[in-house]
Amino acid sequence: MGRRWGLALAAGERAGCVVSARGAERPGAEAEGPWSCSGVLLSRSAGLVLCHGGIVAPFLRAGAGVLQPGAGPSFLGAESCRDDLRLHVQWGPGRGAGAGARAGPRGALCTPPC
């Protein structure tokens, strides 16, 4: 990685983002999710982001079966998902544990000594 990859590095850092999806909290029920994946910020000024469709599949009104091949059209509008879907996008700059690093549970991932 070096000069040869400078343009790709810059483009990746600028466009890379992470997207999470969860259901809004409802009285008496736990919120669904979150599911998350990576994404690409296509246009910063317009705020357009493309990411994997799987994270919203649990919120499809008709169920994830509509995504199966031959099950329906090749696109679905926003109304195909439930109203309680909440989406968040986080993007750079930066790597390393900065000042914004949040304390809290880290899930199942750990760093076993090798």
């Binding site: 466009a15 890379g16 999470s20 000024s45 599949a57």
Partner: protein, 450 residues
């Protein structure tokens, strides 16, 4: 760290869900037809997902193993609420996937484990090459982890080439070591079309403006890799198939376990475009007791349009190398290219007897050529690694026979048609046998001081 942390998450709304029909067609063609070789895809961890309870359409490839897999090939277009960022900055450019040859370098930029700890994992980089393509369905050997679904994959020039569709895949419970991508131009084209149908012309125009201008038909196969790479061939021997390398118009080298001596006829399919299959016969194969798993095929007709590779004379540990082979897909979409380095050169009595690489090598790659960055033929691939105690396969540790072991016999055969020197491959020293059995090379017995 002095580096700034990621911005706080911003709320976004869904504009649409879209899939690329051509991607799905390519997927069905490559992965859906062969029930015997169950392909599995996952983003959840390194172990292959359990097989489906019941037989399903598409050979289980679309099995419902979580939301990311149920939606394989589907992507979501979102709009960040409010203004994402006022500054214009450099504009994202999109490269047409068809303009990239196999072997072109790629950089994946994603967030392993998704939203888990973005201050540590956001925009993690992974480098590889374009390993194979079937229309907008692309494969790369860049290592992608769970959570990188949707990540951007960029060309060396910084143009967006594709998005990750599935970071991990297995064939017959063997980890393949390739990630599945969807070409960005095809996806944006489909999204722009869908937005137009949904009554969002402004966003449709914006997406369309990112698309590259229409290009002429796709370039010839493998141009960037050097002409020598087209010497890779598919070898079919009855129900068995593997890879091979053409060294002369009527001479193909492959592995004994692909084309054993008993085989009467084998069919050789060149990788070069517009080349016709040619029948041949096995004129030499090492004995089962030989550690060198080699077979020589003499063709009935000349192979045309193939520049034959130069044989390497030296090996340099750490040098960039690549393997070209028909592993994983057979003739479904031509040979795959995987990149890595020459990780070890094992010598006996100062002569190389085994090469190891970090390229991803899968079942079906046996007999395929191992090339240096300059296009010299370094060896032929014979195997990858399996841990018999766990059943785990390691595609990134694999073994090749150095071409220097074969060169004297090949040279004599090319000049005189005499196969006699190939017989020496059946009589290697015990130390060579020990190496290929993955045993320790015995130390020389201590000399007597008397």
């Amino acid at each position: 760290s002095a580096q700034p942390a990621p911005r706080a998450p911003a709320r976004a709304r869904l504009l649409l869900l879209v899939c690329c029909p051509a991607f799905r067609a390519g997927f069905a063609r490559l992965f859906g037809g062969d029930t015997a070789e169950q392909w599995r895809f996952a983003g959840s961890g390194p172990e292959p997902p359990a097989p489906p309870q019941e037989s399903e359409d598409q050979a289980g490839a679309w099995a419902d193993e979580g939301p990311l897999l149920a939606a394989l090939g589907w992507f979501a277009l979102l709009c960040v609420e409010g203004s994402a960022e006022a500054a214009a900055g450099p504009r994202l450019s999109v490269a047409p996937a068809a303009s990239l040859p196999k072997g072109a370098p790629l950089l994946a930029c994603g967030s392993p484990f998704g939203a888990f700890c973005p201050d540590i994992f956001l925009n993690s980089l992974s480098r590889g090459v374009l390993s194979n393509a079937a229309g907008p369905l692309l494969l790369t050997d860049a290592r992608c982890l769970p959570g990188t679904e949707g990540a951007g994959v960029f060309s060396a020039r910084g143009a967006l080439v594709a998005l990750v569709a599935a970071p991990l895949c297995w064939r017959a419970r063997e980890w393949v070591g390739l990630s599945l991508l969807c070409a960005a131009d095809a996806l944006l084209h489909a999204a722009a079309h869908a937005l137009g149908r949904l009554g969002s012309p402004a966003e449709a125009r914006l997406l369309a403006s990112l698309l590259p201008p229409e290009e002429p038909p796709s370039p010839p196969l493998l141009p960037e890799l050097g002409a020598a790479w087209t010497a890779a061939v598919l070898v079919e021997c009855g129900s068995v198939w593997g890879s091979g390398v053409a060294l002369a118009p009527r001479l193909v080298l492959t592995c004994r376990h692909v084309a054993p001596h008993e085989a009467k006829r084998v069919l050789v399919r060149p990788a070069a475009p517009k080349s016709s299959p040619v029948w041949g016969k096995v004129v030499f194969a090492t004995q089962d007791t030989s550690p060198y798993d080699v077979a020589v095929v003499k063709l009935e007709e000349n192979l045309r349009g193939i520049p034959f590779p130069v044989l390497a004379t030296h090996f340099h540990e750490g040098e960039d190398v690549c393997v070209v082979g028909f592993g994983a897909f057979g003739q479904a979409c031509g040979p795959s290219v995987t990149s890595g380095i020459l990780s070890a050169v094992v010598e006996v009595k100062d002569a190389p007897v085994m090469l190891q690489t970090t390229c991803a090598v899968h079942g079906g790659s046996s007999g395929g050529p191992l090339f240096s960055d300059l296009g010299e033929l370094l060896g032929i691939v014979t195997s990858n690694t399996r841990d018999n105690s766990t059943g785990a396969t390691y595609p990134h540790l694999n073994f090749s026979i150095p071409v220097t072991v074969l060169e004297p016999a090949l040279e004599q055969y090319r000049q005189t048609g005499d196969l006699q020197r190939f017989g020496e491959l059946d009589r290697p020293g015990e130390q060579v046998r020990v190496v290929w059995r993955l045993q320790r090379v015995p130390a020389e017995p201590p000399r007597s001081k008397l």
